[in-house]
Symmetry: D2
Subunit: 105 residues, 4 copies
């Protein structure tokens, strides 16, 4: 995300004094609520309304960014830490072309 997009997300909450509601717990609830609205775009069919998907996906991303900010995290640090775990859990030679969970590979 560009610095000005990040800035816009932060300013939006600051202007409304919403930091008081943005506890880590409430943000975790908010992320799953928005993720379920994203899933609702696919509730009865694989077909979807792209504009609606974009809006709900953006909501997930904005609340995820709120949580990163709230906890003072670095997105590259946490993603790289997790990708390192994933790379070990799913070795290419075992996981290639398979959707099985790591404990069933």
């Amino acid at each position: 995300m560009k610095p000005e997009t990040l800035e816009r997300i932060r300013k939006f909450s600051d202007d409304r004094e919403w930091d008081q509601f943005h506890t880590p717990e409430n943000l975790a609830k908010s992320i799953v609520i928005e993720a379920a609205e994203l899933l609702e775009c696919f509730q009865w069919s694989r077909e979807y309304d792209l504009q609606h998907v974009k809006e709900e996906l953006a909501d997930v991303i904005v609340y995820s960014q709120n949580m990163i900010d709230k906890l003072g995290l670095d997105v590259d640090e946490i993603v790289n830490m997790k990708m390192e775990q994933n790379e070990k859990k799913y070795p290419v030679e075992k996981a290639k072309g398979s959707a099985a969970k790591y404990d069933q590979l």
Copy 2:
């Protein structure tokens, strides 16, 4: 996210030929599944294990990025589009200090 982090996310799926599983619908399911695992860090208490939170939040972010890639979206474009909607739905003078939904402001 830095270009090399993005690249690592994409290479991870490419190497494992997982693009076939990454339909928009399956990614929407995956985002909500990981979001619920993040919420699980707060299931019985507001206290949390930071390392666990980082891992689950990273999973949400990685699947969100997978969906952005799958749909050929631009993260700044969709976030700005949504923030514009949010700024209109929640005018500062009405929303300041309130957690009410826009239709109850």
Copy 3:
């Protein structure tokens, strides 16, 4: 559910003194967490492991029953109240054979 099954659910929590954790908010979190585990049975495919589905569906039902008990609700009363709303929102002649949301019928 048979009275003895209900009784078993209640005794399980009573014996462990878990009522203190079963606030309505925590139960709502728990229901969505278990619902996402149920969804995980279908994450990458429509095929599923029936035993796993049974276990996760049972978890959703048990936490839903915990919430009914916690709030002192009557399951028949709330389901009938909601079915009445649904019957009005989705008139047979409009909704027959359609998966559209009520505001798009």
Copy 4:
């Protein structure tokens, strides 16, 4: 649930020919979507609107019943099977008064 309530749930779908949409996968999505709407009642606060909670909880229960019907399950059988697992995973002497997960008891 009383037989007439169950009957009402089944007739509602039958009348609208919705069985075609009620695949196990779609019902799993629907349960998590409704569970997240229930959670939304508690998004920013532990305070809640009881009527709203009743409606969303009823939705979770109705879709859970739809899944039970779809898979030809017996609610008492699956709940008792799961309670037996839970009773073993959480022995009273270890779990009493603790919200820890079974693998951390």
